[in-house]
């Protein structure tokens, strides 16, 4: 079973092969062939992940480092002592991510085969999707920050390509799509800048980027729990012996950080100045946090994610809900040793996460676009995860990451199914009424155009409902367990350590959870309940099985996904499914993972608040309102209309950025282009100084020097050669025998030269 570890390069290679096949042969394979290749590649990667899981369980969760064939000496500068191998790390954390990425990814690939049916760039879509898998798996499986960074940038590229996938849609929509893609790319650059700096400082500090060297095990804390933060060696090993077993030679960054923190007083020299190691870690983690706010869409860099919904819905589900946006959370959980060491960063992370959760939940309540609602919901849930990292609940963050991947992928795919169905209904109506219907603008994503779809699309409806309950945190769906763990851990940070950010974060997150339940109810009510508000909705039809089967699978996962990490002390279920399985699994690679306990009071309160929010939502969006929806009832009510308008306008974030960043930047660029580049460089330096000088110089060189001297000399040589040739030409008689005589003469000459010493000897010279 340990041999399974060596399969890990395949997890990147299989999707790469799939994308190469589709890239070069996609045109000839047809939709079915392309779909089989793409889904097959994804399934292959999933099977490899499962084998790695088995290997981990079989070897007692012993992490392994595997070199990539051919690329193990990836970056090697011996003179500078830089050696960054292309190594895969198989441990519980990376395998968790692999399972999520490939498992959810496979379902979404399958769904996309149905969703993208008939698209003119069908093969290209799956090339991008497989490319995304390649990079995402590189990101999660690497054993060093550089590999993570490569994957990080790669998924950003795929995100860009896929958001702008329909860049040529007519009627200005293509421009919107490509603008959204550019926005995502540029906003992410800001975050990536932070990540790059963080990685560079990490390298400067530690001299390596490896998480752990091969055969090096994470050094563990003595007891689990935030209060016991002093790192000592594994508890079952006696102290004295443990010191002997301490890894020798250069260490990976995390264990090195552990040892330095334990010793204390270590300083990092930056040439001009030096900093204490603890302060360096704060700087590194803050820069990492900047990277995470970009990739995981947190304040202040979240603005790209809602726009990213311009991409096809499977992309939104896979990249912008389930996997890529969780890369930031993964990165922070991976670096939990760093984050745990810095209280300042933890404070900032908690506040950013909780604020984002609340703010995005608020905006989601005022959106009309079915996917935008889900996008803000994703931002909000990512806020939960980031806040969990901030309070040190790394296992809870990963738990929420996994469950969120299930139900958010489900919701996105469900929304895709709805959009598909409504578009289908729209075409149907347009056909029945002739062409004039096509002229009317019709937005199949606007939930005002829907309603009553539960009868037309029963499978989509029931799975969507499950996703909504899971997201809202209703027991026993998956979202309840993970969200409850985060809430409890946040509260415990306040009550047990008296930390302000714990209390503030808890309140913010609790309100965000209530918002979540409310806007999800609003969405389900507007989409599925009541009666159809347009003819398109009335004629919508259920999607094909390739789309509904993934929905059903994801729905099942959304129901049972929470049972993988049932907290301590939960009645019945704990004994059925085992207690905090996921946490004990993650503990082998995440040093500061700790199990959540169960607080009956808090859980009841959270569930009751969620149910109350759902009930309130149903009261506001009752059947009477749904029948003739002119305005949102919140908009119509004077008490809430201002708040709704704010939410609908997304709190003016984009306008703020445009006014204070984009426009000033553009003006500065204009000024530089006009003044510095054109006026100074082009007109003065290039035209006047360089071109003018050169022209004057060449004029001098042309007339007297070139024509007068050089030309005349060459003409004279030419004449001389011509005259000589006229004489020599007569030798060329055209008779073979004279040529043969010349050859003989030449041969004799050569012989003479060779024999010259002999002749001189004979003649006595």
């Amino acid at each position: 079973m340990e041999n399974f570890y060596n399969l890990v390069p395949l997890i990147v290679i299989i999707p790469a092969i799939g994308l190469l096949i589709n890239l070069f042969a996609g045109k000839y394979l047809g939709e079915k062939g392309v779909g089989i290749v793409a889904v097959g590649a994804s399934t292959g990667a999933f099977l490899v992940s499962v084998l790695l899981w088995i290997a981990l369980v079989d070897t007692g969760f012993e992490a392994a480092v595997v070199n990539m064939p051919l690329l193990d000496g990836w970056i090697r500068i011996p003179s500078a002592g830089v050696e960054i191998p292309w190594q895969f790390r198989v441990d519980t954390l990376s395998v968790t991510m692999m399972l999520v990425v490939t498992g959810v990814g496979t379902l979404i690939h399958l769904y996309a085969v149905g969703y993208m049916h008939g698209d003119e760039r069908f093969p290209r879509f799956f090339v991008y999707m497989n490319l995304f898998l390649v990079f995402m798996l590189t990101l999660v499986s690497g054993n060093n920050f550089l590999m993570m960074f490569v994957g990080w940038e790669g998924v950003g590229l795929c995100s860009y390509l896929l958001i702008g996938f329909w860049f040529d849609k007519p009627g200005g929509e293509g421009w919107r799509n490509s603008d959204a893609a550019r926005k995502a790319f540029i906003v992410n650059r800001v975050g990536d800048f932070g990540l790059v700096l963080g990685v560079l400082i990490t390298f400067w500090t530690f001299g390596t980027l490896d998480y752990y060297r091969p055969h090096e095990e994470p050094l563990h804390v003595a007891a689990h729990g935030a209060e016991e933060s002093a790192p000592v060696f594994a508890p079952d090993v006696p102290e004295a012996e443990a010191v002997e077993h301490a890894p020798s030679g250069p260490l990976g960054v995390f264990n090195q950080a552990h040892l330095w923190l334990e010793e204390g007083g270590h300083r990092v020299d930056f040439g001009l100045f030096s900093m204490s190691f603890e302060a360096t870690l704060t700087v590194i983690t803050l820069l990492f946090l900047l990277g995470a706010t970009g990739k995981s869409a947190q304040i202040p860099l979240f603005v790209w994610l809602p726009d990213a919904m311009a991409g096809p819905t499977p992309v939104s589900a896979l990249i912008h809900a389930a996997t890529m946006v969780t890369a930031g959370v993964y990165m922070m959980v991976r670096s939990n040793v760093f984050f745990h060491a810095s209280d300042t960063t933890s404070f900032v992370v908690t506040l950013i996460g909780a604020t984002t959760a609340l703010m995005a939940g608020f905006i989601a309540m005022g959106q009309w676009d079915i996917k935008k609602v889900l996008a803000y919901s994703t931002v909000s849930q990512l806020g939960f995860m980031v806040a969990a990292v901030g309070v040190g609940a790394y296992a809870a963050a990963m738990f929420h990451l996994v469950t969120h991947a299930f139900f958010k992928a489900l919701l996105f795919l469900g929304s895709g199914s709805v959009i598909h169905g409504v578009e289908h209904g729209h075409h149907h109506v347009a056909h029945a009424h002739g062409d004039e219907h096509h002229a009317e603008p019709f937005d199949p994503q606007d939930i005002r155009n829907m309603g009553g779809l539960r009868h037309r699309m029963p499978v989509t409806y029931w799975t969507y409902l499950i996703g909504m309950l899971a997201l809202a945190g209703v027991i026993p769906f998956a979202g309840f367990w993970s969200k409850d763990e985060i809430l409890l851990d946040t509260l415990k940070l306040g009550t047990e350590q008296g930390r302000l950010d714990g209390y503030v974060g808890f309140v913010l997150l609790l309100v965000a959870a209530v918002f979540t339940a409310f806007y999800m109810t609003r969405q389900v009510a507007l989409v599925f309940w009541g009666a159809p508000r347009t003819e398109a909705a009335a004629h919508a039809s259920e999607s094909s099985p390739t789309m509904t089967v993934p929905l059903v699978i994801l729905a099942v996962l959304s129901v049972i996904g929470g049972f993988m990490n049932i907290p301590d002390g939960f009645p019945v279920l704990g004994s059925l499914f085992g207690v905090h399985e996921l946490t004990s699994w993650l503990e082998h690679s995440v040093v500061y993972a700790h199990a959540g306990s169960f607080n009956f009071l808090l859980a009841t309160a959270a569930v009751l608040l969620a149910l109350a929010a759902i009930y309130a939502g149903r009261l506001v969006y009752n059947d009477r309102v749904l029948r003739t929806l002119r305005l949102d009832p919140l908009e119509a009510d004077p008490r809430t209309s201002r708040a709704f308008a704010l939410a609908n306008a997304k709190l003016y974030w984009d306008e703020f950025y445009f006014k204070y960043i984009v426009y000033p930047f553009r003006d500065a660029a204009h000024w530089l282009a006009d003044r510095l580049d054109w006026a100074f460089w082009h007109d003065f330096v290039h035209n006047e100084v360089i071109y003018g000088t050169f022209q004057r110089a060449t004029r001098v060189l042309t007339e007297p020097v070139d024509r007068g001297l050089i030309d005349r000399a060459f003409n004279a040589i030419g004449e001389a050669i011509r005259a000589a040739a006229a004489r020599l030409r007569t030798i060329q008689t055209g008779y073979v025998r004279t040529y043969a005589l010349s050859v003989l003469f030449g041969a004799l000459l050569v012989m003479f030269i060779i024999l010259l010493p002999v002749i001189r000897e004979l003649l006595g010279m």
């Binding site: 008779y735 025998r737 004279t738 005589l741 004799l748 012989m751 024999l755 002999v758 002749i759 004979l762």
Partner: protein, 401 residues
């Protein structure tokens, strides 16, 4: 004798060459050339190039000259026109002068130069080692400090290795040991194939120098055998074909212990072999039935004994067979060299031949098909093509141009 032959045949060669030159009839010229080629084939024989001589006769005098005669007769060019008013009257004296200069130069080179001065010895000696020392599982054999066999197991022989001529000390070591077991002296001469055979026991070892003869034989059913006597219990042995002490054919007579016989030529086939003690009482010491003797090989036979744990002895007969060495200039040696060291030039020559074949076909293809005369037709266009271009066509073409 050889010199006389050389002078006679050389004279024929020169005379035929001159006759070829001055002959008025092309057919006569060709026939003189054939004779000249035959002389050269004869010289090849004298220079121990038997194979080349055969090729010279078959390919040159046969195939190529037939081709010449065929072309001469095909073109009807056998009668050569006499040289009337030669175009280059100065050609004849100039050519003859240059020819004389050439001959003088070559003679100079031969007289004063280094031609024929140094000559290397043909055919190096070959050496190998054979281990037949009782109670010694493996040996190393050195020739003046240079290793020729390492870790040689009992009953095995190393491969024949070419060696420089000269006088050498052979040293026998137990495998990997520092202390030598036995030494001997040997002279290596041209064309020899020497097997250093280690005999005896560990306590009393003996090195025998057996000079085998691996040259090819004239008989295709015969092989050369060299026998080494390693039987310690009797003074001398006879080796016979068959089992009967009286009626059998004696192959080797009266060979003392620790000596090697001269190579003898015997007939091959499947036969029984027996070893008898030589002397008054002819005791049969060993019998080996149904041994296959492959012809056209060189065999080294070592008869010896080997102690068992219970102090009785096993009779041992080592038969080491080597293929006969190819002779200089023979087809085998030429073929071996051709397909080993010269395989790349061989391939290139094959390509040249292929190109020549294609070239011949292309040059002579026109003879078979009537020639098309497009050029002529365009040079004399028919009347309708010579008519002036119509004005509208002219204007259109000028617009397009």
């Amino acid at each position: 004798m050889e010199l006389t032959l050389f002078i006679i045949v050389g004279a024929i060669a020169v005379v035929t060459a001159v006759m070829m030159l001055i002959s008025e009839n092309a057919v006569h010229s060709a026939l003189f050339l054939v004779l000249n080629f035959a002389c050269i084939a004869f010289f090849f024989l004298m220079l121990s190039g038997a194979f080349l001589a055969m090729v010279q006769i078959t390919v040159y005098a046969g195939a190529i000259m037939v081709l010449f005669l065929f072309v001469i007769m095909l073109l009807g060019a056998e009668r050569l026109r006499p040289e009337q008013n030669p175009r280059f009257p100065w050609m004849v004296p100039a050519a003859i002068a240059l020819a004389l200069i050439f001959l003088v130069t070559v003679s100079l080179a031969i007289i004063r130069g280094e031609v024929g001065a140094s000559s290397r010895q043909i055919e190096q000696p070959y050496v190998r080692a054979v281990n037949a020392v009782d109670q010694l599982e493996a040996v190393d054999v050195y020739l003046d400090g240079a290793l020729i066999a390492e870790n040689l197991a009992y009953g095995e022989a190393s491969a024949f290795t070419p060696w420089e001529r000269g006088r050498y000390d052979i040293t026998l070591y137990p495998a990997g040991a520092e202390e030598p077991l036995a030494t001997a002296k040997v002279d290596l001469n041209r064309g020899e194939a020497i097997s250093f055979t280690a005999l005896g026991t560990r306590a009393d070892p003996l090195l025998v120098v057996a000079d085998e003869d691996l040259r090819g034989t004239d008989r295709s059913d015969a092989l050369r055998v060299t026998v080494v006597n390693g039987v310690r219990s009797v003074e001398r042995i006879d080796v016979v074909r068959g089992t009967d002490p009286v009626a059998s054919e004696i192959l080797i007579d009266d060979l003392p212990y620790g000596a090697a016989s001269r190579p003898v030529l015997i007939t091959g086939g499947t036969t029984d072999l027996s070893v008898f003690s030589d002397g008054v009482r002819r005791d049969r010491l060993m019998t080996f039935s149904d041994r296959t003797l492959t012809p056209e090989q060189g065999h080294l036979w070592v008869f010896t004994t080997r102690a068992r744990p219970d102090n009785s002895f096993d009779n041992v007969f080592l038969s080491l067979e080597s293929n006969a060495l190819p002779s200089f200039g023979g087809p085998t040696s030429i073929g071996l060299t051709l397909f080993a060291r010269y395989i790349l030039p061989m391939q290139m020559v094959a390509v040249v031949l292929l190109v020549a074949m294609i070239g011949t076909i292309i040059f002579t293809r026109d003879m078979l098909a009537p020639r098309r005369v497009f050029v002529r037709r365009l040079a004399n266009p028919p009347a309708e093509l010579q008519a002036p271009i119509a004005p509208e066509a002219a204007s259109r073409s000028s617009l397009e141009g």
